[in-house]
Symmetry: C2
Subunit: 306 residues, 2 copies
C-alpha cells in the first residue's frame, strides 16, 4: 500500500493572497508533495493549507512552508479574530494510508527539531505527539497568544518549549507541531428556529460537558433557513463514529419535539468513515472493505504493475 | 479519469481446475487485462471469472478466453446443475469508471461479431445490448439449453442469433454477450426459523411479482443458524439502492413480528453503492463524492503526474 501522510499547516495570514501563494509554492517545490486544498479567511486573518506526501517528504514540505512563512509574516503586525502564536501556527501530521499514528508522532518530532535547528523557531508538541497531558489540547498551549507567550516563556516552567530555547522567534513566534487522526467537520440541522435547543443538544453530545469522547460541539442559528444547527468536530471518527453522534442528536431532539432535517459534512471525509455508516445501518455481517470493487481493483492493479 | 470496464465471463466447466487455469492465463496474456476473481462450482460445473481492462483491450481478453474455452470444453460431454448453452456461456461488459453503458453495448457488439468471425460461435446479445425485449432476460435465451437450441435454432425465427448463422458450434454451442450495470449480491437475514416468511417477503420485494424494479429475490433457510434469508440480486443499484430494499424488507418483516438480524454483501460492491447508504441514513445535504479524501487524493495525484 502506498504510504501517505496528510499535513494541514495553518498560517497567520488570510488577507495577502501573494503571501499564501509563495507558501503554497514552497510546498509544491518539494517533489512528491501534492496540494489538496487551501482556504484563507480574511476575518480570521488565517489560512489553512492541506497537502499529502510520502512520510519521507512530508517534513521537508512542512519545513519549506514554515521557512517561507517566517520570511513573509510578522506577528507583531498581525491582527485577526482567530487566536495565534506563530507565523506558522500549527502543523499537524495525519496518517492516511500505510502509516501509523506512531509514524506521525515521529514525523512531528523530526519536524519540531528542524523548526528550531534550521529556522530558529521554538516548538510545542501537541495532541498525540504531546509530551504532557496539558499539551494535548491546542487551546491550552495558545493561551495568551503570541504576545502572552513572548512575555512569559522565559520565566514559566509550564511554557517551556519541547524544542528550542525558552524564547519566541521575534517575528515568527512559536509553532505547535503534532499528530492527530483525520478530523471531520460534521453538522446536524434541526427543524426549529430556537437556538437554545441546539445549544442544549450540543452540550449533551460533546465530550467537554459529559458527552461522546471524540466530539466537540456548538449550537448555531442558520438564520436564512429559520433553523438551527449542532456543529461538530469529530476529532477521532473511529473512536466516535458519525452515526453514533447523529443518532444521539436525533434522540435528544425528539425529547424537544424537534425533527432532524438533515446533516452535512464540511470539507473532506475519509471513505472509511462513510463505510462505517453503511455498515451500521444495514446491520452488515462479516463485511470487509476488501469487498469494495475499487479496493480490489487498486490492489490488483498495484500487483499487476509490481 | 482512468477508463475501466469489468467483464465477468462464465464458463461451462467447474471441475477441471487445469481448464480454468488455461482460460485465466489466456486473459492474463492480454496486456492491461487484470484478473480480479475466479470462482468454480463443481455442482454447477461452472466457473465465473472477473477481470477488468481498458475498453480497447476488454474484447481482446474476452475473445482470448472464449477461444481457449472452445478448445477445451465440449458441451456434448458437460453436465451440471446450472443451465448452460455455451462453453463460454455469457460475457457481460460492465461500466466501472470513465465509460458509459453505451460504450459497453458497443463492446458487446464488437465482441459478438468477433466470436462468430474468429471462433465460429454464434452470439445472442442480451440485457442492455439486447436487440429485442424478449432477449433482455438471459433466462429466456437459455431455455432448452445447448441441446434445445441446437435442435431448434435452424427453424425457429425467435432463436435466430444476433451474430452468425443459425447453427450452434458443434462443441462450444452459442454464447450470450451483453452489457449491464454492476450486480450486487445482497442478503437480508431474518430472526425466524420459518422459511415461509422469507418466501413471502421475497415475493413482496422482487420485481417479478410486483416489487422493486431492479431486485431479484428468493427465500432461503440458513439451517445451521436456525434463521432464514431473503437472498437478492440487485441488478441496478442506482435504480434500486441497497437501503430501499433493506428498509422494505424490515417493514414487511415487522408485519410478521420478525426482526432483521443482519444483512450481507456477497462478493464485490461498488463504493458508490455504500456511499448512497451513508447519504440516505445521515440525511446528508449537498454531499458530493468529491469530498471523500481518497477521491480528492486520487484526482490530485493524477493531476500531479500528468
Amino acid at each position: 500500500m502506498r504510504q501517505i501522510v496528510e499535513c494541514i499547516p495553518n498560517f497567520s495570514e488570510g488577507r495577502r493572497a501573494e503571501v499564501i501563494d509563495q507558501i503554497v509554492s514552497a510546498i509544491k517545490s518539494v517533489p512528491g508533495a501534492v496540494l489538496l486544498d487551501r482556504e484563507s479567511d480574511p476575518n480570521h486573518n488565517r489560512s489553512v493549507v492541506t497537502f499529502v506526501a510520502s512520510p519521507d517528504r512530508a517534513v521537508d514540505a512542512a519545513i519549506a512552508a514554515a521557512k517561507k512563512a517566517s520570511e513573509l509574516i510578522d506577528l507583531n503586525k498581525h491582527a485577526g479574530e482567530h487566536p495565534r502564536m506563530g507565523a506558522t501556527d500549527v502543523i499537524p501530521f495525519v496518517p492516511i494510508s500505510g502509516v501509523t499514528m506512531d509514524d506521525c508522532i515521529a514525523l512531528a518530532r523530526a519536524c519540531g527539531e528542524r523548526m528550531w535547528s534550521e529556522l530558529d523557531i521554538p516548538v510545542y508538541l501537541y495532541e498525540k505527539a504531546a509530551t504532557r497531558p496539558d499539551r494535548e489540547n491546542l487551546a491550552n498551549l495558545r493561551k495568551g497568544q503570541f504576545e502572552g507567550i513572548r512575555d512569559d516563556i522565559a520565566t514559566s516552567e509550564a511554557r517551556r518549549p519541547d524544542f528550542g530555547e525558552p524564547r519566541v522567534h521575534p517575528t515568527a513566534g512559536i509553532t505547535a507541531v503534532g499528530a492527530r487522526p483525520p478530523l471531520i467537520a460534521y453538522n446536524v440541522n434541526l427543524g426549529t428556529p430556537d437556538v437554545e435547543v441546539a445549544n442544549k443538544i450540543a452540550r449533551a453530545v460533546r465530550h467537554q460537558s459529559g458527552g461522546l469522547r471524540y466530539v466537540k460541539a456548538l449550537g448555531f442559528e442558520l438564520k436564512d433557513r429559520g433553523i438551527v444547527q449542532v456543529s461538530m468536530n469529530m476529532v477521532n471518527y473511529e473512536g466516535t463514529p458519525l452515526f453514533r453522534a447523529f443518532e444521539m442528536i436525533k434522540r435528544e431532539a425528539e425529547r424537544y419535539g424537534v425533527p432532524v432535517v438533515g446533516s452535512e459534512i464540511v470539507g473532506l471525509v475519509p471513505q472509511h468513515a462513510l463505510n462505517a455508516v453503511a455498515d451500521f445501518y444495514l446491520h452488515l455481517e462479516n463485511f470487509s472493505e476488501d469487498q469494495i470493487l475499487e479496493h480490489k481493483l487498486a490492489a490488483a492493479m498495484e500487483e499487476a504493475e509490481a
